[in-house]
């Protein structure tokens, strides 16, 4: 019933719309264009006034900028006043290549404008979209009398279009309101006018539909005596006749239609005589496509039901039960079914046809095959798991070995990163400590006791400065200048740096240099730092005097040079040897060293593709440090 009502409503609606559109079209067609013309004229007037104003401002500003350029004194105060007008979005001074030279907003200085208006010879008006806000603005470009390669600089003034847009939207809103009012009035009129025409028609159509669907009790109300009324009479009479003479087939049809399984009736010629809804749905045929067709159309090729032996069995036994066969849909899809059939005989016991019922067994089959697949998958997963376990074992072994190698390197890198991370936090406050201490030292008169205290503050700050800069060695990746150097000269120049200390601590230096060693490619200041660290350490280890022997010789069959520093100082305990290159490891008394000298040396030599080793027989037996530097393979001549 609902479906019928909807269709009738649609029909009535279309007629209603025709009339409605006619009336509305007339109303709108006259009023809207006149409102639009009026609005457009006003907007144009207002825009002209605004643009002329801004153009004057732009010309005035460009004259100021021009003289500012030649006087080397940009008119920032004047330009600030221009920007104070809320309708001015920006100003810019632009070079002929499009580079923004100056602007109200320092952030855009240096950005490039890609626009044809750059270096224009005449004043131009254009519009652009502001990238930050998406706002559309107007731009005036005026040429400046500043030339570069024969092309002119320009002054750009961006102004807001908001006043125009506001006016425009106000006007549009008003005209829209008027138009809407007209549409509503015309709509009401058209609605009642069309309703009067379409109501009797609607009832007639409704009745026809109802009868055709089998509702023979429906009676059409007669409202007029015209042709429509006469038609209503004829329909009412027809409905009555139909009710008396027709035996309804609905009952049987319903039974067959409501069957969930498919039902097909074949005649004695094995042609399809009847099918139910389930068959059509399953095989995707329309009823007329199947009626009268041979039975074989339903079955997949090669299926046995209509081969002689199966048919013979059916005829002989009168029925056949749950026979697995395959149906074929219109699109060629094969559907496995369980088929049961029985012979239908007439009063004379002659075969009249065959009744066939088939049950779709796809779901059952699908379940079985899914189970099989799942089982297979399980077996496969199990095997893959076993393989993976083996691989994991292997990887674990490799990782373990690798891990211990990485640990040392990682420590160094971590220290470097930490240093870079906190350098800012330490160096800035340190500026305060050091700076103020030094100012105070200048101001406190000689002989005042405070001088000594402030001097200690200065000394402490300088020591912090040295620690931070040592730590930063680990994070600096810059390329140092590498040059060919005679390593003996580097040692000698380092020794001269600590001459005072050597004399003070009564240390004897023994040089044992091998002749004919090649020059090495090194960063001289860095290698000097390494030697300085080693010599200072040795001197500090021999506080009661001793001998420091420095020797150079070939190493590793001529691939490297070894420089060793052997002292007779207090030595290093065996258990401490592996840790001495770690950052902050120190055996010296607090305040004497930063604890970074050896790890910085280690890092520097690593960058030279060299290395450093330490040996000691234990406490009191002296120590030996050996620096190994590679010999450059190509391009070296002794």
């Amino acid at each position: 019933m609902r479906e019928i009502t909807n269709r009738v409503l649609q029909r009535r609606k279309s007629l209603f719309i025709k009339i409605f559109l006619l009336m509305a079209g007339l109303g709108i067609g006259i009023s809207i264009p006149s409102i639009l013309i009026f609005t457009a004229h006003h907007i144009k007037e207002m825009k002209n006034v605004l643009v002329e104003n801004n153009k004057l401002t732009a010309e005035l500003a460009s004259m100021n900028v021009q003289s500012g350029y030649f006087l080397q004194q940009w008119p920032f105060e004047f330009l600030k006043k221009i920007k104070d007008n809320e309708n001015i979005v920006y100003w810019r001074v632009v070079k002929p290549d499009g580079e923004i030279y100056l602007a109200d907003d320092a952030e855009v200085w240096g950005k490039i404008i890609d626009d044809e208006a750059v270096a224009t010879m005449t004043t131009l008006m254009k519009e652009e979209i502001l990238s930050q806000t998406g706002e559309k603005i107007g731009v005036i470009v005026t040429p400046l009398d500043i030339k570069e390669d024969g092309r002119q600089w320009t002054f750009w003034l961006g102004y807001s279009l908001k006043p125009i847009l506001a006016m425009r939207s106000k006007m549009l809103f008003m005209s829209l309101g008027a138009g809407l009012l007209i549409i509503i009035l015309v709509g009401f009129f058209a609605y009642y006018f069309s309703k009067g025409i379409t109501r009797p028609l609607k009832q007639l159509v409704e009745g026809t539909k109802a009868i055709s669907k089998g509702n023979l009790d429906y009676e059409i109300k007669k409202e007029s005596t015209d042709e429509i009324g006469e038609l209503a009479d004829s329909f009412n009479k027809m409905a009555g006749d139909l009710k008396r003479t027709t035996i309804s087939r609905d009952y049987f049809d319903n039974i067959i239609r409501s069957m969930i399984d498919t039902l097909v009736i074949f005649d004695s010629q094995e042609k399809i005589k009847m099918v139910n809804r389930a068959t059509l749905d399953l095989l995707q045929y329309r009823e007329e496509e199947l009626i009268g067709k041979p039975a074989s159309i339903l079955f997949a090729e090669g299926e046995a039901l209509f081969r002689k032996e199966k048919l013979g069995e059916l005829i002989e036994r009168g029925k056949i039960r749950n026979f697995d066969t395959t149906y074929l849909t219109k699109s060629g899809e094969k559907i496995p079914v369980s088929f049961s059939g029985s012979i239908m005989r007439n009063a004379k016991r002659e075969i009249e046809g065959i009744v066939g019922v088939a049950k779709d067994i796809r779901k059952t089959q699908k379940l079985i095959s899914e189970l099989k697949a799942a089982n297979l998958e399980l077996t496969r997963s199990k095997n893959a798991m076993l393989n993976m376990l083996e691989d994991l074992d292997e990887s674990h072994r490799k990782l373990k070995a690798f891990h211990s190698q990485l640990l040392q390197t990682e420590k160094m890198v971590a220290v470097g990163r930490l240093a870079a991370g906190v350098a800012h936090e330490i160096n800035n406050p340190l500026s305060g400590v050091l700076g103020f201490a030094q100012v105070l030292l200048q101001e406190i008169p000689e002989g005042n006791a405070w001088r000594r205290d402030v001097g200690k503050i200065e000394e402490g700050a300088k020591r912090c400065k040295k620690i931070v800069s040592d730590l930063l060695t680990f994070s600096r990746q810059e390329d140092f200048e590498m040059e060919l150097a005679d390593i003996r000269e580097v040692i000698d120049s380092t020794l001269s740096l600590c001459q005072n200390q050597i004399l003070l601590e009564k240390v004897k230096i023994i040089r044992d240099y091998e002749e004919n060693l090649p020059k090495l490619r090194v960063s001289i200041p860095q290698i000097e730092q390494v030697f300085l660290n080693l010599i200072t350490n040795a001197i500090q280890a021999m506080s009661e005097g001793g001998e420091l022997k420095i020797s150079t010789r070939w190493g590793n069959g001529g691939d490297s040079v070894e420089i060793s520093f052997t002292d007779t100082g207090k030595g290093i305990e065996k258990e401490n040897l592996p840790r001495i290159f770690e950052p902050f490891y120190t055996t010296q008394e607090v305040g004497k060293g930063t604890g970074l000298g050896l790890s910085v040396s280690y890092e520097i030599l690593k960058r030279h593709n060299g290395s450093i080793k330490a040996e000691s027989e234990g406490e009191g037996k002296g120590a030996r440090f050996m620096v190994i530097l590679p010999v450059e393979k190509k391009g070296y001549e002794s």
Binding site: Q72, W74, F76, Y101, L102, A106, E107, W109, G110, A420, G421, A423, H424, I426, N427, N428, P429, L430, S431, G432, V433, L434, G435, F436, Q438, V439, Q442, A461, K465, V468, S469, L472, S475, R476, Q477, E478
Partner: protein, 126 residues
């Protein structure tokens, strides 16, 4: 005749600015300006004739290099010294490649500050 030397310090750390103010306080021929960031520095440059700028590399907002590029546009005869707290090595490398400038490391010693100002003012007078 004594010439007044105008020095601008651009650094976001108050303690660094304070050190400069205190260190240069006693110098009668030096006038010190301070700014917390690049844009503030540019505003001061627009209004005052400056001779020497100490410019921190690790400024927030626009960093020292970007600030320097903007300063160059003003066509001024001013000498820039970059300061770094060694926290950003890539900026430091860039700064070292800019001609007619130098990079110094924090913490600065006051002798270093005096030397830079004296050298820059001599260069200017010559």
């Amino acid at each position: 005749m004594k010439v007044k030397i105008n020095v601008l310090i651009i650094d976001d750390d108050e303690i660094v600015r304070d050190v400069f103010l205190r260190v240069l306080q006693k110098r009668e021929n030096v006038k010190v300006f301070v700014a917390e960031n690049g844009y503030e520095g540019i505003e001061i440059l627009k209004r005052n004739p400056l001779h020497t700028i100490f410019l921190d590399l690790g400024l927030p907002d626009i960093n020292g290099i970007e600030t320097f590029k903007k300063i160059q546009r003003l066509n001024l005869n001013v000498i820039v010294t970059f300061m770094t707290a060694s926290s950003n090595l890539s900026l430091e490398e860039k700064a070292k490649k800019i001609p007619n400038t130098q990079v110094v490391y924090k913490p600065l010693e006051i002798e270093e500050i005096y030397n830079i100002i004296d050298r820059n003012s001599q260069y200017r007078l010559n």
